[in-house]
């Protein structure tokens, strides 16, 4: 399976039914990122997202083995449905640790679980390349969350220009992030090679 490129969903399902080990791994590799992302988006906690991912795939494997997946073409949608259920159950779980910060004596900003060190560096580098007026637009749009009419009134910026600033800064951020991530992964990978 692996020497013929990525397997189709139908192959993965068939492989699981035939007890092929790599089918489970293939299915997990293909969809676990999406399940994790969706759970993190809803639950804002890495620990919860990990739990949701494990539980979702446990149920997916079990359901496939019990022939509960009627159409292998609908595998993505089937996994999404199970992930949504597990996320809802986790939401309602009385054991779930609250993620909101307690009221502290000293200000401590809530850290966004979607942010990592590379994202912080990438955004700083991206912003350094922009003109002050472009940064001002981004502040009003993403941070102050003002409607576009209000932003246009404040800084007199045309609609097509707005699209361009967003597009350029997102592109620069993505490129920078991917580069930094590669460097970080290499660094992290280096010591384990010596083991």
């Amino acid at each position: 399976m692996s020497d013929q490129g990525p397997a189709s969903d139908a192959d993965l399902v068939q492989g699981l039914l035939n007890g092929v080990d790599s089918a489970g791994t293939g299915l997990f590799e293909k969809y676990s990122g999406r399940v994790y992302y969706l759970a993190l988006r809803e639950l804002r906690s890495h620990a919860d997202a990990q739990d949701v991912r494990s539980e979702t795939f446990l149920r997916v494997f079990r359901a496939i083995q019990n022939q509960q997946l009627r159409a292998p073409d609908a595998l993505a949608s089937f996994i999404l449905g199970i992930a949504r259920n597990v996320i809802m159950e986790t939401f309602r779980s009385p054991h779930r640790a609250p993620h909101e910060s307690e009221m502290p004596d000293l200000p401590a900003p809530i850290e966004d679980p979607m942010l990592d060190e590379e994202a912080r560096q990438a955004i700083a580098a991206t912003l350094r390349r922009l003109k002050p007026r472009e940064r001002e637009f981004l502040r009003l749009h993403y941070y102050e969350d003002l409607p576009k009419e209000e932003i246009a009134r404040r800084i007199g910026i045309a609609e097509d220009r707005v699209r361009l600033i967003k597009h350029r800064s997102l592109k620069s951020f993505r490129e920078m992030y991917e580069r930094l991530k590669k460097i970080a992964d290499t660094k992290r990978g280096a010591p384990s090679l010596q083991v």
Partner: protein
């Protein structure tokens, strides 16, 4: 759902920023569970929006302090024009700039006084209305998860609810702000200039007439531009 639609309608950003109606968000989830390209785009956008918010909180998006860009070319000419420039600079530095700065400071103080006054009135009315039997009170506690939000029951007669947040003692003059946002992420209301009262809490009156049933996020921060969020609460508005 075609890629042209997704691009033209700004679906990815709207999804990440929770601006899509629930049915559209669900349809887009179905799409990106199958589509590698859209999933990569969503993931990148999520990170980008989080990084922008982080940059906003850290002041990285703020305008730079006013400098004097017109001085830069002047430096190139400084040897030839030193005398003229010195005279010009002296005029600007000692006459024009202090004048402009003083005007700016005055305008800022006026604006601040107005805001403080409104905040004070708001807060007073919140406290005044507290003992009235028909004003529902929502005591917000940060430790409650989304599964058990702080809920408040309102009826057609209810015009406002009193939000009550216990906070530790603060140095005098420290003011807080609350941003109340709807489930779709839209900011529904913002309250400024709150101070810890004698009962050790922040009390704010929140008009509920325009708030639909649902779960809201209430974010507490210092009442300053780009201040970090100190705590986040969930408030479920339930109509009888």
């Amino acid at each position: 759902m075609t890629h042209a639609d997704i691009e033209n309608r700004g679906t990815i950003e709207a999804y990440v920023r929770r601006r899509l109606p629930a049915s559209d968000a669900a349809a887009f989830e179905e799409h990106y569970f199958e589509c590698d390209r859209c999933f990569a785009d969503v993931h990148a956008m999520e990170r980008f929006v989080a990084a922008m918010t982080h940059a906003g909180r850290r002041g990285l998006l703020d305008p730079p302090p006013a400098r004097f860009p017109w001085l830069m070319p002047a430096f190139a000419l400084v040897t030839a024009l030193s005398l003229v420039l010195a005279a010009g600079l002296a005029f600007l530095t000692f006459v024009r700039l202090p004048e402009r700065e003083a005007r700016l400071r005055q305008a800022l103080e006026q604006a601040k006084a107005g805001r403080d006054r409104i905040a004070e009135l708001d807060q007073r009315s919140a406290l005044d209305s507290a003992p009235q039997a028909n004003v529902p009170v929502a005591i917000l506690e940060a430790s409650r998860g989304p599964d058990q939000p702080n809920s408040v029951l309102v009826d057609s007669q209810t015009r406002s609810v009193l939000l009550w947040i216990d906070i530790p003692p603060q140095p005098p003059g420290v003011k807080f702000g609350l941003a109340i946002s709807a489930p779709d992420g839209r900011v529904a209301n913002a309250i400024h200039g709150l101070e810890r009262n004698q009962n050790g809490a922040l009390a704010a009156s929140l008009p509920v007439a325009q708030l639909a049933d649902g779960s809201y996020r209430v974010r507490l921060s210092l009442d300053q531009p780009s201040a970090p969020i100190l705590a986040e609460y969930r408030l479920a508005v339930v109509r009888r």
